[in-house]
Amino acid sequence: MENVILIEDRTYRQRNLLGTKLIELNNYNLLKNISGGEEFTHLKEQMLKKEYSIFDKYSTILFHRSAFDTDVRNGIIEYLKNYNKKVVLFSGGITGAQLNKINNCEFMLINVTEFYSDNLLYFIANGADNLLELANGKNWKMSILLDSIQKVTLYAKGFEKKPWDIIDGELNLHDIIIDKYFSELTSKFITIEDFGDVLTKMNLDLKSNL
């Protein structure tokens, strides 16, 4: 079932950047690739009429930032931010890949060259749910690990013993971090020493991967 929509107005650029990987991409059943042509023209007309409900059935929406003018683009973003969706805007003139969250909606702005790369196929192959896969490919866990080390380090400063449930809510760590470093601690009060041990393990993993 299609739950990812990719909208591109510059067909040649998509073909050029993906090359033969475009065939592979189009073979994923979960992806609807609207690349120029009449389908794009029709979609653009719908957007001008503010018929945003077309996106309701998709959990991940990927589109070229300049495919729509500023007002239309802002209208789309305004609509989508109220839903639990992943929204990716790709463009040529920007640097890197920034990930932001508003309500339950995750937004990513990513450079077009980084977007049309192996990372896109990796992201789609894994269900198109983890935007860090799109930004960092197979290194996505490193980004989470670095982020988590910072969080835990700051959180542990002046820390007083607390039950895991409270810490879980306050720290909001990624599931893979909890599974790997906190699974044995979830049933007890966590101490500053526990955090020290977790950070040692995390840093060791980081060093071995950097």
């Binding site: 500023t70 920007i94 890197g96 890949a97 932001n100 995750e106 450079n111 380090t153 950097l210």
Partner: protein, 578 residues
């Protein structure tokens, strides 16, 4: 005074109570690039009250975007802000050396007034102490030499759009048109970190707005811009620039969405452009070579570029239209090829060269192209009309083919040869790379009247024993001698045997047989033959040196009037055969 502290991702940092600390937060306008969001934040009304920034390495949920480091670069490179030199303290858990290994952006961490605190080893109180200490005066040039910012990796990998946009920024600042550029693009230009970096690295030597010498035009000219980036500021720039140069320049662009055209409908796109050109009837066209995505492929041969294909079609519409290639590409083979196909000159969109010098060059190019177009475009139109008329004209059969003076073959091909000689004369004069083009072109035109004379007039006898006589081939009637006396043309129908007729006299006689007297045409033929005889073929002794100078005359201004007279006379003459 306030100290701004930023959190990272969805983690909230607790700020000390009763302090000057303020939580920093970028706008949630996620349709905007990070650079734009940072720029908006820094340009807040009270930015002069900011004492320091405390930043994580990354502000967003993706550590590897290094957005905190990008933020610090914005602070330093926004030289218009009073807070540009304030202290910036970073907090993080990685070693500084590791960060330096991960990203060149981390170089800012080792510049003046920037500190990196490993929060695993130090407390927040230490950061607070650090920012409370007196800040050093920074050496911006030294920081500029230490940092390194890469351009956004555009899809073509050649950064042509960066060159294109940076040229637009620098040029429009230099000529005072920056404020008239579209708001969307000014917003992008003003905020993009890479442009801030380039502007700092390439400061304009004189910040004052430059005005350029006006172009004196005899008549109004139309300039047309064909550029996929036209509506992204270039139209506004040129409009402003040309208005200042002359009120006789009518400037417009072709408004087509190039980026949404693909290879499949390229021919249709070119046809649309050519139709527009025919409608607008421009004198000068500023033409970008790479208009579509398919043109960005580096392996493309110049002849495959959309701009080159359009250039070829323009030259079919009117070879006198002056085409100036405008491009951000610096590929010499493209210019060479465009030149071979008839482009006059090129403008490289490059903001790194002195904008003042570049704009002066553009001004000179436009002036020269205008002079050429004013003469060449009407000549081309007249040439096509005259040759069409000539080609429809049924050439009479020669009656005196046994005349040894005449080569049978070229008589058969006279129509073709007249076409070839006149077109070659035009192509020669239109080709700036031929230094003696004026002389060659004139001799080619002269050859046309010689051929006509040989076809229509039969010579009998010999001038050496004074037995020569001239008859029209068609009816064997005597060729009259037409001469000018006190401004009047005198026709002598009974020319004595032995009187030799010159080339121009024969031509006037042929014209007179089919029509009447045409003083303008005769005057033109007279001047053309005089130039040929006195300057190139039989120069008088005292004129020899001067003649050489004339032969190699390359200043279009100096020969344009004569050129117009010669072409007009020959074309009127050819058209008179109906």
């Amino acid at each position: 005074m306030s100290d701004i502290i930023f959190s990272f991702g969805d983690f909230e940092i607790e700020i000390p109570q009763n302090s000057t600390f303020e939580k920093g937060k970028l706008s949630e306008n996620f349709g905007d690039d990070l650079d734009q969001r940072i720029n908006t934040y820094l340009n807040r009304n009270d930015s002069e009250l900011i004492n320091s920034f405390i930043l994580p390495v990354s502000l967003t949920g993706n550590f590897f975007d290094f957005s905190g480091l990008i933020f610090a670069h914005h602070i330093r490179l926004s030289r218009n802000l009073k807070c540009c030199d304030v202290k910036v303290a970073f907090y993080g858990t990685l070693e500084l050396t590791e960060l330096l290994r991960l990203s060149p952006l981390a170089r800012i961490l080792i510049t003046e007034n920037v500190f990196y605190i490993d929060i695993a080893k130090h407390s927040f109180e230490e950061i607070i102490e650090l920012i409370a200490s007196k800040s050093k005066k920074i050496n911006f040039q030294s920081i500029l030499n230490q940092i390194q910012i890469s351009p956004p990796s555009n899809y073509d990998g050649n950064h042509h759009s960066v060159d294109n946009e940076f040229a637009l920024i620098q040029w429009s600042i230099q000529n005072g048109s920056y404020e008239s550029l579209p708001d969307d693009f000014k917003k992008e230009f003003d905020s993009l970190l890479y442009f801030k970096y380039l502007r700092a690295k390439n400061p304009l030597s004189h910040l004052e707005i430059k005005t350029f010498e006006k172009i004196q035009l005899e008549t109004s000219i139309k300039i047309l811009l064909i550029d996929d980036e036209s509506r992204k500021g270039w139209k506004d720039f040129y409009e402003f620039f040309f208005q200042k140069l002359s009120n006789k320049i009518d400037f417009q662009d072709i408004d087509i969405d190039f980026k949404n055209s693909n290879s499949l409908d390229r021919n249709e796109l070119i046809s649309t452009i050519i139709s527009e050109i025919k409608k607008i009837d421009p004198d000068i066209i500023l033409l970008d070579l790479r208009l579509l995505d398919i043109d960005i492929d580096n392996e493309k041969e110049p002849n495959q570029l959309t701009g080159i294909k359009i250039l070829e079609k323009i030259k079919e519409v009117n070879n006198g239209i002056q085409v100036i290639v405008t491009t951000a590409s610096n590929k010499v083979w493209n210019f060479k090829y465009a030149n071979q196909k008839g482009a006059l000159d090129y403008i490289i969109k490059n903001g790194f060269e002195s904008p003042e010098v570049t704009l002066k060059k553009i001004r000179a190019t436009i002036e020269y192209a205008s002079i050429r177009a004013i003469y060449l475009k009407p000549i081309y139109n007249k040439m096509i009309k005259s040759l069409n008329s000539w080609n429809e004209y049924k050439l009479p059969k020669r009656k005196n083919l046994n005349d040894p003076m005449h080569d049978k073959l070229w008589h058969i091909n006279l129509k073709l040869q007249v076409n070839d000689f006149i077109k070659n004369a035009f192509d020669t004069i239109n080709n700036d790379s031929i230094s003696e083009r004026f002389t060659i072109s004139t001799l080619l035109l002269f050859r046309v009247i010689e051929m006509m004379n040989e076809f229509y007039i039969m010579e009998c006898g010999d001038y050496r024993d004074k037995t020569i006589q001239y008859f029209f081939d068609q009816d064997n009637t005597m060729v009259p001698k037409i001469s000018k006396l006190k401004g009047q043309y005198i026709i002598d129908s009974k020319v004595q045997k032995g009187v030799q007729l010159s080339t121009k006299e024969k031509t006037m006689a042929i014209y007179h047989k089919t029509n009447k007297i045409n003083p303008t045409l005769f005057d033109g033929i007279h001047k053309l033959t005089d130039y040929r005889n006195n300057v190139t073929i039989h120069p008088k002794k005292r004129f020899k040196e001067e003649s050489l100078e004339y032969m190699y005359e390359s200043d279009f201004n100096r020969f344009s009037n004569s050129l117009n007279i010669y072409f007009s006379a020959i074309l009127d003459y050819v058209e008179s055969f109906k």
